[in-house]
């Protein structure tokens, strides 16, 4: 590796505390740091002021504090074509997409990485909680040390080619440590609230947002045995395992979404958090991508997460054709949801992941899940 001062690192700065500290740490280490803000979504308030402006203002303040040049780049078109279109298509198909995974794969670590390379960058850095190491002649992605913040789940689609050009300066830190560094350095974003939710929706009402793009089709709620339980507002507003917003009263355990019948536009519900219908023991995942280029055994043991922040589950992975794998769980798992990511780990190492496509129990596909 080159001397830091001859190593140009482009930091993706969002105006949040994490990427601010990432830029700060790299600068402290002596790298040739450039801060770049990505504008992926066009959104203006009633006075025509772009909502991204506030975040960019924070990037400017922090970049000036640190003493690095800052720029912005516009990927609205790429984001719309690659992420938002996928997002809507998945909802149309009754699934629950993960736009953050897609954004990392197609925008942050593709379009943005290309942009950084065009600026003569050696590396692209972000404020993700993950680690990158070089071992056995290749680059590996490890979980962030802060297990509560680890973001490898969202980075699972990154290839060897991508990950070898990436730095994650926060990977060895915990969130409280990051805040502390920001405070000590007096960074303008030190006390800024973390953003929540999907980036382009922000703090807004999710239903309202989605209804601007997809027509909501209200329909019936039924149990798996066909008992009518009321009306739903549109299948896309619900995800597997969800409890809130069903409005089914009565005695006994609370009601949960257990599935969707797209053809009949029926939301399938069941009683009890541990409702049997919510459990599955195997899946088929598609669009599987591995961080390593080395050939994988046809079958191997590892752990997996089926949603963000879920504890690891022991599984067996069998490679199928066409970037597909079969994943067999040691124990049944609740609310595995089509469209979400399945991500594989070997200890600290994130191996890669794919999209949850088909769900099985006792070797039978659970068609009601979607």
């Amino acid at each position: 590796m080159k001397d830091p001062k001859n190593t140009r690192v482009v930091v993706g700065m969002s105006g949040g505390v994490d990427s601010s500290v990432a830029a700060y740490l790299l600068k402290e280490q002596g790298y040739d740091v450039i801060g770049i803000f990505m504008k992926n979504w066009d959104d203006t308030d009633e006075f025509g002021v772009c909502t991204a402006t506030e975040d960019y203002e924070d990037v400017i303040r922090v970049a000036n504090q640190i003493g690095i040049p800052y720029y912005a780049v516009n990927f609205e078109k790429e984001y719309w074509d690659k992420v938002f279109t996928y997002f809507l298509d998945e909802y149309k198909a009754g699934r629950t997409p993960n736009p953050d995974v897609m954004c990392n794969k197609e925008i942050k670590f593709k379009a943005f990485l290309d942009h950084a390379l065009k600026l003569g960058a050696d590396y692209l850095a972000t404020g993700h909680y993950a680690r990158v190491i070089v071992e056995d002649g290749e680059t590996k992605m490890l979980r962030g040390v802060d297990s509560n913040k680890d973001q490898t789940y969202f980075l699972n689609q990154l290839s060897q080619d991508q990950i070898s050009k990436v730095m994650f300066p926060l990977g060895h830190l915990t969130k409280p440590e990051v805040r502390e560094i920001a405070k000590k350095a007096g960074l303008a974003t030190a006390n800024k609230k973390d953003s929540t939710g999907i980036c382009f929706i922000g703090e807004r009402n999710f239903k309202e947002f989605l209804s601007q793009y997809l027509p909501a089709q209200p329909g019936r709620m039924e149990t798996l045995t066909g008992e009518y339980k009321g009306e739903h507002q549109g299948l896309m507003y619900y995800t597997i395992g969800q409890r809130h917003g069903l409005g089914i009263g009565g005695d006994g355990d609370p009601w949960f979404v257990v599935g969707k019948d797209l053809e009949r536009n029926v939301l399938l519900v069941g009683q009890g958090f541990h409702n049997e219908a919510l459990y599955s023991d195997a899946i088929i995942a598609t669009k599987v991508s591995w961080v390593s280029n080395k050939e994988k055994p046809k079958e191997f043991r590892c752990t997996a997460k089926f949603r963000y922040r879920q504890p690891d589950n022991n599984v067996t992975v069998r490679l199928l054709d066409n970037d597909e794998v079969e994943v067999i769980f040691d124990e049944p798992i609740r609310a595995v949801t089509p469209g979400q990511a399945v991500v594989f780990y070997n200890g600290e190492e994130c191996l890669g992941g794919g999209t949850i496509d088909k769900i099985f129990k006792n070797e039978k596909q659970l068609t009601y899940v979607g």
Binding site: C50, N74, L119
Partner: protein, 380 residues
């Protein structure tokens, strides 16, 4: 690394003599020009002298100059002020698609408030046609606003011809001369201009000061209320040091105007010639006959403006795309869109270089060389 400033159309360095003049005023003259004592009179004298110099620079009368905070305020005042003062005569306004946003966004505001605005197209060189102005004119047209020369591509508009045309019509004629002032001769009387906006910081003066020329008899509704400054057109204690600096900048810019103009022509030729020698693919956006010599807008096929500008900056060259930013990222230029259509490549691969005080022939050669290097890297 050498640094090169090539964004004079965005703003220009303050001339040292202007700094000296302003410093002097700030040190010694602090009276309020409206006060009736010696300190006030001293300050008032500075403003009157400046008003005199500035009025003469465009062949206007002394009392036809209103000092503003800059070009944007002058544009706003001209458009909103005349629109509201003359709405009994009509609600139709004509402007062009290539105006500065200070005009365009003000027109949008007026549209939201019951006025009707016609946005005239331009040809591929960025020039509006007098014939189009004529055809757009209606009995209820109250204002025509056409910029003197465009800030992004430098194309000079047929101002005298439009003025002539409008001299027979009720509509007032406003021109945003922010980019042209100081480089082109302007005679508001001969050109039949009723309202004209100028900003000091484009001509090596300070930021935060400009003026609106208002032809005697123009009906203009003020929108700053307070004291009686600027003949009640623009209330608020005057920016005395700014006005003093503005005057000095005007005096300097007028001196050897033709010589400077000719030198900018030389810079332009040298720059283009040097780019040609580098055998890279490029094309000049704008007019070959009606242009401001110090603005050169160049399209480089196969490049992408965002990466291009950052690369230039990292190589020490400060240039611009000439268009607006939202949250720091570039929106495709409305000027290039008006010239070429919204799908054309020029919208995404054009850079504006603009030169001015202190730039040498060697500088533009270096800038061309470095630019060519970046083009080669980006199109590899």
């Amino acid at each position: 690394m050498n640094k090169y400033y090539a964004d004079y159309a965005a703003t220009s360095p303050i001339h040292p003599d202007v700094v000296e003049e302003m410093t002097e005023v700030m040190h010694h003259i602090y009276g309020n020009p409206s006060s009736i004592h010696a300190y006030g009179r001293e300050a008032r004298k500075i403003i009157d002298e400046a008003r005199n110099v500035i009025a003469k620079s465009i062949h206007a009368n002394f009392n036809e100059i209103i000092f503003t905070s800059g070009g944007t305020e002058a544009d706003n005042m001209a458009l909103i002020g005349t629109a509201y003062a003359n709405k009994d005569k009509g609600k139709h306004i004509i402007t062009t698609a290539i105006e500065h946003h200070a005009v365009l966004h003000t027109c949008e505001f007026l549209e939201q408030n019951g006025f009707e605005v016609t946005y005239l197209p331009v040809d591929k060189t960025g020039r509006v046609s007098v014939e189009d102005v004529k055809n757009a004119l209606r009995d209820d047209t109250i204002l025509v606003s056409v910029m003197f020369a465009n800030n992004e591509v430098g194309t000079i508009q047929p101002i005298a011809e439009i003025g002539q045309l409008l001299s027979e019509h009720q509509a007032y004629f406003h021109t945003d001369a922010v980019q042209a002032y100081g480089l082109l001769p302007i005679d508001v009387k001969k050109m039949h201009i009723d309202l004209l906006s100028v900003s000091a910081h484009k001509i090596n003066g300070p930021k935060g000061i400009g003026f609106l020329y208002e032809n005697t008899g123009v009906r203009l509704q003020p929108y700053f209320y307070g004291g009686e400054q600027e003949r009640k057109r623009r209330a608020g204690t005057e920016n005395v040091p700014g006005i003093a600096g503005f005057k000095k900048a005007v005096e300097i810019i007028q001196k050897d105007r033709q010589k400077k103009y000719d030198f900018y022509e030389q810079l332009r030729e040298k720059f283009i010639q040097r780019l040609k020698e580098e055998s890279i693919n490029f094309k000049i956006n704008g007019s070959e006959s009606n242009y401001l010599p110090h603005i050169i807008n160049v399209s480089f096929p196969g490049t992408d403006v965002e990466a291009f500008l950052v690369n230039l900056d990292l190589e020490g060259i400060s240039a611009s795309s000439g268009s607006a930013c939202t949250a720091g990222s570039l929106e495709p230029s409305h000027v290039l869109r008006a010239m070429y259509g919204s799908e054309s490549d020029e919208l995404f691969n054009s850079i504006r270089f603009s030169f001015g005080l202190g730039v040498t022939l060697e500088d533009v050669e270096d800038i061309a060389k470095i630019t060519a290097k970046v083009v080669k890297r980006l199109t590899d």
